[in-house]
């Protein structure tokens, strides 16, 4: 019963959130709360507002593999290659060209390629490039600054408008600088925060940008998970105090040793 309620809540939350945004990727709701530690298991994603889109998986070696979409859902399985892959959905209808991009880390043999290549690779005419993407041991956190670059046909797009929506109900609009770089702080919009990283589910944020040129309209989205900032249960002030206490203990050890030596 509880599982059904949680599942229904998740689906309602997911679709009420996605209804506000352009075509974008989000993780498919999992049957179990914890993803487990099978690093080679497939990762399911849902493409929202993406009917008719062509989906490809770009490997770290920049090889595009077509993906089959079933009921707006794709499962990214191991390509045998370690490192970031890009899940790319594209759709063109008349003058409207849309894309949705999400980076997925897959385990396998070392690819020997830098993720910088896949981030910089032109996956669609209009694109929001993470600059940089949060790598291993790092993650997007609420209340921390993030940086993205908006590109059009591989060139920076100055003064582009980027819209952000989050699964926690947050939304905001940002303007890129002359170099197409947009900086902002991810919102602190999690409710019911519990102490501990494992106790809180991550949220999703979607960035979308729009650009019109020569009668054509380009729309793109970038999506990723973001997590509760651990500052809620980690205190730097207390940390500094304990380091000071450690220094005091060290000082006492030194003084005792010196007295012992003198005596």
């Amino acid at each position: 019963m509880i599982r059904t309620v949680i599942g229904a809540t998740l689906i309602v939350a997911l679709f009420s959130f996605t209804a506000q945004a352009a075509m974008h990727w989000s993780p498919a709701p999992m049957k179990h709360g914890h993803g487990g530690h099978d690093r080679h298991a497939g990762k399911p994603f849902v493409l929202t507002e993406g009917a008719g889109a062509a989906v490809t998986l770009l490997t770290p070696k920049l090889v595009a593999k077509p993906m089959s979409v079933e009921q707006a859902r794709v499962v990214v399985t191991s390509t045998g290659m370690d490192n970031y892959h890009a899940l790319v959905a594209t759709r063109s209808s008349g003058d409207l060209h849309e894309s949705a991009i999400r980076y997925v880390y897959m385990f396998g043999k070392p690819s020997g390629e830098s993720p910088s290549d896949i981030m910089a690779y032109e996956k669609s005419a209009l694109e929001i490039e993470p600059s940089p993407y949060a790598r291993e041991h790092w993650r997007y956190l609420s209340d921390t600054e993030v940086v993205f670059k908006v590109r059009y046909k591989g060139q920076s797009l100055p003064l582009a408008i980027v819209t952000m929506t989050t699964s926690n109900g947050g939304s905001a609009e940002f303007k890129a600088d002359e170099q197409g770089v947009v900086r902002f702080t991810l919102p602190e919009d999690f409710s019911d925060i519990k102490p501990g990283r494992m106790a809180n589910r991550p949220g999703e944020f979607i960035l979308s940008a729009r650009y019109e040129e020569g009668g054509g309209t380009h729309l793109t989205s970038f999506s990723s998970a973001y997590h509760v900032n651990p500052n809620h249960w980690q205190s730097t002030g207390l940390g500094v105090a304990v380091v000071a206490a450690g220094m005091l203990i060290g000082g006492l050890v030194f003084v005792c040793k010196r007295r012992k030596e003198k005596s």
């Binding site: 830098s114 981030m119 940089p132 651990p230 207390l238 304990v242 206490a245 040793k257």
Partner: protein, 342 residues
């Protein structure tokens, strides 16, 4: 003595370069390459530092014991997906380790360098430094590194993976590692200096980490290499020290019995290098810093070799110049215990 002839000065320069590379290296090699160079670096290079250029081997080892081996033991299924990552980590570690042996500690470890720099500051502040610890104390401290390796790198992560212990003990060494705090602070991050109140386990581990860090800050001013003595990396290196190409060789002479300057120069207080009559004097606690060779006054008695090629050989002339340089560096401070005994 010109600095380019002084092995200790050369070593400090190498340590400084290694520190810059390991703490800020992603600035040079690219942000994403930072965790891709080896993932099994045989020194304390921390993945929690956002700008690091490489990973300490203790990180993947703990994760693989906790996330792969533990659940595999529970399930009774040992596939290649369990064995290969662990073997790959150990193989990568060994390839690097063969190249430099335990010199990773004495020449490249950022935390080792930091402690030495603090020691130099302690000398300049004219603190009453104790160059050699009491031999009984040294003997009591020595098993600690094996306990750190056995418990914090192997057993606790394994117990966590098998469900006998909480997630707190999934990577307990990283939780208490002072290099995590040091390198992240050096990279301008405060996010690793904290007390975690999310659970009792996390709180205890974070208190231990911060206390360790505070202790090291002060103890390094007055004694040599306090953390190195209990570092699990030292124990891991000790296990494989016979396969490394860098060797420390002694040609025992009866004069060695009366001298002992090598043992007094040793920052790890390995008195056995003085008493040993064996050729191979690469002891488990050695960091291959080479000070014993520098401070050996007899010709060809001690040698640091790379495979069969001598890197530095003890020499009376070098000893005299090195001793003079050391005294010039120490200045007019109170004579150290070493000097008194000498």
């Amino acid at each position: 003595m010109p600095f380019w002839k002084n092995l200790s000065v050369i070593r400090k320069l190498v340590q400084l370069l290694a520190f810059v590379f390991l703490v800020y290296g992603s600035v040079f090699i690219g942000f994403y390459s930072a965790d891709k160079l080896s993932g099994a670096f045989p020194a304390l290079a921390c993945a929690y530092d956002a700008q690091t250029a490489d990973y300490c081997v203790l990180i993947p080892l703990q994760h693989q014991f906790g996330h792969l081996l533990g659940p595999a033991i529970n399930a009774g299924a040992f596939g290649m997906s369990v064995i290969m990552p662990i073997l790959t980590t150990l193989a990568t570690f060994l390839i690097l380790f063969v190249l430099l042996n335990k010199a990773f500690c004495g020449w490249l470890c950022p935390l080792g360098f930091f402690q030495e720099v603090l020691g130099m500051i302690g000398q300049k502040l004219r603190l009453n430094r104790t160059d050699s610890l009491d031999s009984k104390l040294v003997d009591r401290i020595r098993p600690a590194k094996w306990l750190m390796l056995g418990l914090l790198v192997v057993l606790f992560p394994l117990a966590s993976g098998m469900g006998f212990a909480g997630h707190e003990l999934g990577d307990p060494f990283c939780k208490i590692c002072p290099s995590r705090i040091l390198t992240s602070l050096a990279a301008g991050q405060l996010n690793q200096l904290y007390i975690d109140t999310s659970s009792t386990g996390y709180m205890i581990l974070s208190i231990i980490a911060d206390t360790f860090f505070g202790l090291i800050l002060v103890l390094s001013l007055t004694m040599r290499q306090p953390f190195c003595r209990i570092c699990p990396m030292l124990a891991l290196h000790a296990m494989f020290r016979k396969v490394g190409l860098v060797r420390l060789v002694k040609n025992y002479t009866p004069r060695c019995d009366k001298c002992g300057l090598c043992a007094k120069a040793c920052p790890m207080d390995i008195r056995e290098i003085h008493t040993s009559k064996e050729k191979d004097i690469l002891f488990p606690d050695c960091t291959l810093c080479g000070r014993c060779v520098e401070f050996c006054p007899d010709k060809d008695v001690m040698t640091m070799k790379y495979a069969v090629i001598p890197i530095i050989v003890s020499d009376p002339q070098y000893f005299k110049e090195r001793n003079r340089a050391q005294k010039a560096w120490e200045g007019k401070q109170k004579p150290s215990r070493r000097a008194k005994k000498a």
